[in-house]
């Protein structure tokens, strides 16, 4: 899917007349060609071709930005631009992002690297990039007006600093940031340790994703940028379940989850079947003495967390935000509770007035996960997803850690649903059941 904008150079070879903006080619010569990616599938980890070696991360439904070495400096080229992002099949949004997608590509560097990051602004308004959590010269911090002039549309700025400490970071605009982040501008950053680090264990699988949230009116495609808190799309790397890829691991792997939160609320990230330790936070690796086992870790607004666990239980283990409305897709917040209200006898009358009407909610909302009724265009059902045992009725910030004995090292291919050993799945009681006793007193 990499295009590398090669058509520019090819068009130059063939004719030249068709080359748009060829005037700037000389000026652009010093710029690394921007790498643009389309599509929302998870790319395999990008093994470094030069520079100090490291074990690359896997960006969930994303990719790592290739760099070039130039006189001992790692050079990256980020392009801020409007993009179209598929959140899950059936729902695409008009966002702003970097290099073809939102979130932008993950930047992976090694502690001590000299960095030069070119940032080209193809947005209709000025922007900057703030390197969230980094130690760097104040003038490289990316705060419009405070530490630098903003990057006007059409211009390219250069950031230069040394990756001083290993850890998990993010990048995002610091110009009109409410709008630009509501539009999806953000990216992940990992600084790998330059050598063995007593506080950083080598992970076999290192997954990273950003928590982000949008408010997109069902039937439309562009986020409402003025929404403060009442978002309806809760996503990981601008994907929602069932659009989020599974986290595929081999039995016994040391697995690392790096999570950054660029939403406007906290998210308790919960893992089934295992205990993890918080091995890193905003400030870097945690002292071992502070580590304890957890199954849920809250990631507050603007925070990054690094969760390590040994995947020693085979199966399909849910991993999700524990705010249950964050594992749903868009829904109405003012829909009245219909539970316990018989509607069937009125349904005929109502469908006479509203052809196509179906009664819903008298017995709860689970029926939503199996109903397949027409929805507004470009809108996902509130609850969706199919598993081996039927409808999942999930959405938003939900995925599955698939732990498999036979998964090959370095193989991230989805192995399908777990084959449960006989006798290890909950089953229906077959004996006599007492007559049902109605709950409640009415």
């Amino acid at each position: 899917m990499k295009s590398r904008r090669q058509f520019f150079s090819m068009a130059g070879m063939v004719g030249g007349a068709a080359v748009a903006g060829s005037v700037s080619r000389v000026a652009m010569a010093a710029l690394p060609e921007p790498v643009i990616e389309q599509g929302a599938q998870t790319r395999p980890p990008l093994q470094p071709s030069s520079g100090r070696p490291y074990r690359p991360v896997t960006t969930l439904n994303g990719w790592t930005l290739p760099f070039r070495m130039r006189d001992g400096v790692k050079e990256f080229h980020l392009v801020a631009e409007p993009v179209v992002r598929e959140f899950a099949p059936g729902f695409k949004a008009n966002l702003w992002g970097y290099n073809g997608q939102s979130p932008g590509p993950t930047i992976e560097v090694v502690e001590g690297d000299k960095l030069r990051i070119f940032v080209t602004n193809r947005l209709p308004e000025a922007t900057t990039i703030h390197w969230h959590g980094q130690r760097l010269p104040n003038g490289m911090d990316g705060v419009t007006g405070l530490t630098q002039p903003s990057i006007p549309p059409g211009k390219t700025f250069v950031y230069e600093f040394v990756a001083r400490r290993p850890g998990t970071f993010m990048y995002h605009p610091h110009t009109d940031e409410m709008v630009q982040m509501a539009m999806g501008m953000m990216g992940f950053w990992v600084t790998h340790p330059r050598g063995p680090n007593p506080l950083i264990d080598e992970a076999d699988r290192d997954f990273c994703f950003l928590l982000n949230a949008f408010d997109i009116d069902p039937g439309s495609a562009t986020p409402r940028i003025m929404t403060m808190l009442d978002f309806n799309i809760w996503s990981w790397n601008s994907r929602v379940f069932p659009g989020i890829d599974p986290l595929v691991v081999r039995l016994g792997d040391r697995v690392r989850l790096r999570v950054g939160n660029l939403t406007m609320t906290n998210h308790p990230i919960h893992l089934h079947g295992h205990e993890f330790q918080v091995t890193g936070t905003d400030g870097g690796p945690t002292p071992r003495s502070t580590r304890r086992y957890e199954v849920t870790e809250d990631v507050a607004v603007g925070q990054m967390k690094q969760l390590d666990f040994i995947a020693d239980e085979e199966g399909d283990w849910a991993v999700h935000c524990h705010k249950s409305h964050h594992t749903m897709n868009a829904m109405g917040h003012d829909v009245p509770t219909m539970i316990g209200v018989e509607q069937a006898d009125l349904a005929r009358k109502i469908s006479d007035l509203v052809p196509g009407y179906m009664e819903m909610g008298s017995h709860g909302m689970d029926e939503m996960s199996t109903m397949r009724m027409p929805l507004p265009a470009n809108t996902l059902p509130m609850m969706m997803g199919e598993g081996p045992f039927g409808a999942l009725g999930m959405g938003g910030m939900f995925s599955v850690v698939k732990v498999r004995r036979n998964q090959k090292r370095g193989d991230y291919t989805d192995p399908g649903w777990f084959k449960h050993p006989p006798g290890t799945v909950a089953y229906e009681y077959q004996g006599e059941t007492p007559p049902p006793v109605r709950g409640g007193t009415r």
Partner: protein, 471 residues
Amino acid sequence: MTPVVRRVRGAVGLAVAAACALVAGCVTVDPAQSVRQLDQKVPAFGTESLQFLREVQKPEERREAVKAVLAKPLGQTEAVRVAMLNSAAMQVLVAQNVAEATAAAQSGRIGNPWFNYERMRSEDHLEISRMLSFGVLELLTLPQRQRLAAESRRAAEWQLAAAVVDEVTQIRQAWVNAVASAQSAAYAERILQSAQASAELARRMEAAGNFNRIARARQQAYEAEAVTSHALARQAASVAREQLIRKLGLDATQADTLQLPQRLPDLPAAPLEAAKVGAVASDARLDVQLAEAQLRAALRAEGLNGWTSRTDIELGLRREADGGARGFEVDLRLPVFDWGGLQRQGARARSLAAAQQLEATLRAAGSQTRESYVRYLTAYELARHHREELLPLRTVISEETLLRYNGMFIGVFELLADARDQIDTVRAVISAEQQFWLAEAALQSTIVGRPAAGAAESIMRAPAAADAAAH
């Protein structure tokens, strides 16, 4: 024809037969002729409905014909036909016209001669004298009076034509109102059903503990409002139906069988063109014709008055019985005290008034047509706009509302509120089309020279899309 008319006719017939034998060129009155005249006088009035006036049939035949028409839903043209056949009011118009025409004809005749017989006895003497006397001036002015009578009768015919056009316009408008209000009432019932469903659900919601009192009461308040609107809509439909029944002159049995179409006719594909509307020459207009006829009659009357106001002459032929003495007698009224100036002044003023009336009618004619056409055209455009813009927009809103309900973005109460809004829009569409058909009837009437009012002032307003959420 009603018995009244036939009696008039019979009486007139006898009188005319006798008189015509005496004086050639005498003006006669024939009601059937009157009606035929009417057809010629209003040739281009909307439908050919006036043709039906020709059908002079027996009451039983008319009843059967009406029954046949009423067997099916009654269209607008058929409504006029039924009224022509059935309406006593229509027959009253014709009879009144015959009465006026006979009065006019009467003035075109000379008074009957007087026969005077005198028998006087003195002691030895018996005197018998016979005298036949008649008005000489009457005889001398007979041609003038006949012309006056003809003009008066023509004016009466135009008057009748005008009255019939008015009546037909009212029938057509009554039909439009009856159909539209019945249609609208049917939709008001659907609104009520929606509100009832909401209220019933709300009561169950409260019983289940899902709604508090205020939420339940709000839904019930919509129901209460809907009950009111529904009652008013039903009343409006009943009133409009009764008005139509009266216009058609239906008796109780006929009224029971009256069925109306479910909906108003489709709008014409294009409105009448201004050129066509303006092309009706002003001298083809009923009001102009009527004013002209009245002016001619007034001028004739004035001319005649020039003579009759000054004097009166009677001639008597006398014959004595004994001795056979013959002679004549002339009575001449001497204009000593009254030279008739006031009468002539009055007649002159009446002519002037009639002339000014004609002038005013001619001047107003174009303006009335333009006004009526503007009303017609606006009503057409609004009706089209309602059907082709508002209704599709409202349909889109309802479709999307259902999709939003499917996705659980909104609840069933919002869905039902939207259904009510959509039906309100349908009612607004009906109202707009009703205004159009009322304006159309008014324009047809205006074109032929009977400026008529179109519709009520305003169209029922469609609910704004934004209101939906507030419900």
